[in-house]
Amino acid sequence: MSRTRQLLKRTIPVLAGTVTAALLLAGCGGASVNQAAAAGSSDTPCGTVNVALNAWVGYTANAAVYSYVAQNKLGCTVVQKDLSEQISWQGFGSGEVDVILENWGHADLTKQYITDQKVAVDAGPTGNEGHIGWYVPPWMVQKYPDILDSKNLNKYASLFATSESGGKGQVLDGDPAFVTNDEALVKNLGLDYKVVFSGSEAALIQSFRTAEKNKTPLLGYFYEPQWFLSEVPLKKVSLPAYTPGCDADAEKVACDYPDYKLNKVMAKKFADSGSPAAKLLKAFSWTNADQDSVATDIQGGMKPDAAAKKWVDAHPDVVAAWLK
């Protein structure tokens, strides 16, 4: 019995202390500097915007500029969350995500979340046009002019072999989360290749940069808009032409990627809230060159926020049109 009493004696003061602290908190109510300052600083009610942050610099550029404008011109609180593409969509239902700033197609998710579940709505195009494909460093095109036709790829397979590709040629992909049909393409086009994942955009860029510098062979997944293409103008390999519906069955794809009209998506709740940030999202639109310039700055070591500020200050009329 004495042990339990001792136990109680020790835990009671701890509990009492915590309860006192909690009571104190409750007593102070909403009068804290945290809440008071917030109420004073903004005249338009905007609240919090949860922005999903997918892992490529182009997306980061969109998110940086949108967040900068929402924060500084509308007085919103922006919370950025690092999430992979498809996972972000799940956040529309739970309220974890309000905004996806650069969506690449995803017809299945569009159907699931926009048409069926009605937890998300399309917020219009970003103005950017996206292309996905297989690229080689420019030196290879000079040396092997016919390499840009996918029919000739098997001829060069041994050139691309690495210790990871099991004796076949290597197709270097990015993050497994990115939109990709490459595994199916290799199989359905009868290519003597193996898809190897580098894990991220940064790793892809590093690989292409080294490949061009050291004149080593590399075939990899890449995409536009992309700031890196102005540093090393990679050449796109032509795959069998895209026809609508040729990529309907993910296991049987044997054609090139479509041209993507990149768009923005937002949570239904957020769209209905009347928040000025939702209005801003719908109006947000810019060019590939705009995105590349912000992305180049970020890649050059600038903080995304600072790069966004630089672009916003240089384009006052574009921003003004968004805010109208």
Partner: protein, 678 residues
Amino acid sequence: MMSTLVRDRAPVQTSANALRPPRKRLSRRAVLLGAAGVLWLLGFLFLHGTSTLTLPASELTDLHRSLNQFNAWVASNRADNPVFQYVFTPFRSAVDSVANLFTSTFAASSTGLRLPEIGWLGTVGLLSWIAFAVGNARVGLLTAAAFTFFGLQGLFTEAAYTFALVLTAVLFSLLIGIPLGVLAGISGRVSQVITPVLDFMQILPTFVYLAPLALIFLIGPASAVIATVIYAVPPLIRLTAHGIRNIPENTREASDSLGTTGFQRLLTLQLPLARRTIVMGINQSTMAALSMVTIAALIAAPGLGQVVVRALQSLDVGTAVNAGLSIVLLAIVLDRVTTAASRRAEPGAARKRRISRRSRYILLAVSLVVVLVMVQLSRTMLWAAAFPKNLNFGPDIVSGVGAASAWLQTNLSLFTVSFREALTNGILNPFQSLLADTPFYLLVAVVLVAAYALGGWKLALVTASCLAAIIYLGLWSDAMVTLASTLVATAVVMVLGIIFGVAMGRSNKVDQIMRPMLDAGQTMPAFVYLVPFLGLFGATRFTAIVAGIIYAAPVAIKITADGIAAISPTVMEAAVSSGSTPWQVITKVQLPMARKSLALAANQGLIYVLAMVVVGALVGAGGLGYDVVAGFVQSSLFGKGLAAGLAIVFLGILLDRITQAAAADPVRKIRSAKSSAH
């Protein structure tokens, strides 16, 4: 992480033929194993490349498709299915509100300026005070220093988020774990039911249940907490049950003779006596929770994990190290505070204290008042609410480490790349081909013969069912790729375990130097050290193997060291006095006598490496790990990912049972290393 260590299994029954003369039995076993090896090599030479059951990465089996359909079904029925309406969704909101309470108190409120409700100063004060109250003044100061350091790193909010989620997960773990542990401790039947479930939970790679959980509970802190509880609760249940079961028989009898009822006995005898073990369970559970909360960043858990994920994606070593430093510090704080609490919970600890209970209470009360003042300050002054931005050397750490790693990468790349290529082409690729290119029926036969040789019919049966399950899941070839990397990593782990374990077991000084480093290695969540290795070696299987080795080596080294140190000094003296050289002592006396420990080290090493397989897939491991990751991020591969997760579990059970059987029989030679290569 180390929580997997704490598993009290019944020792494997020595098989009947152990009674026969050792020489004869050994030869029979050796003959069977040898025959299996020859069969394998011959099969590989003549039949390689046939019947490998390879499934291209983009292809699915019917099983995977039907699992995909489950995914689609949940998505379309979430809104109006009663199970979701009345069970999952309310449960989710309950967990969410608790998590929200802690995150808004310590990290960031959901409204206003998004500052912690009790400010950074209040948070530092309150947490330090709690550490002081449950532990001692030293851990209180440690807590204050660490949380202030987070602020100086520019990561206060992130660290506080991580802490708040760990706190939530540990709270739920206590709610579930202690009652279950008590039940398992009192009743043998409950224990029998629970133990295999716990085994399963601990072998299941952390990643595997992220996807189904996110499917059911959606992404966000609630799912993160639930995933963390699944990962963190087994050690608590095990240790609680262990503590209750291990109360000395005579103590219990004494209490029974006084006529106590079962419930009284629990309250007055069993729980108080098991208190220290239970608090140790809380410690283990807390450390496990920290490592899982970091990984849960992938399903939108806020905190330090997000910073690491971002660094992983941008190959930013500086940022990763800065965040990693915070995680390690947080791990140290949580470990020290819970350890101090368990010391305080020791029976008789009260008598040993230097200050009297009364003066301690006065001290606690006075410091509480100080804390309340700090909280009040934080609610009225901005400098105490938000950590001052100008006191921030995070960017300096980031750029300093970034520059150092860039220098290393440019200057070492020739060395690291050729080292990687040599090992990959020289060892890993041939071995992987030996496993993945041999016809599956042949390999199944080889493994079954080996299992029979090592553990008789019973083990062969278990092995057969595991292999059948892997084949049924449609992932045989991927499983062999994973097995190859796992075995290579485990072999290296064992070499390290023997070298450092012997050194530590033979010398106290080496032990004193090594042990804190091993502890640090074990408390560091796996996620953190991936980034520097990614920088050095690129995203390859090699990098994943290195990550597995780092994760598993500390356990193997510690177990080996303990085994060597436990050999009785008289035996050692006899060996030394008979004129043996140190090398002879090691090879002829110490290693053979520590055989059981070595086998245990191999067993644990394998399980640990296997636990890293999926995380390794983030840095280039192929096979099952990749399937799990891809299934997590691509909804069309959901079913395949789930199947791959299960395949990892079966592979784990298989390896665990075989290594245990290899360890169970006394044999002259060290069998563990050999059996892992077979």
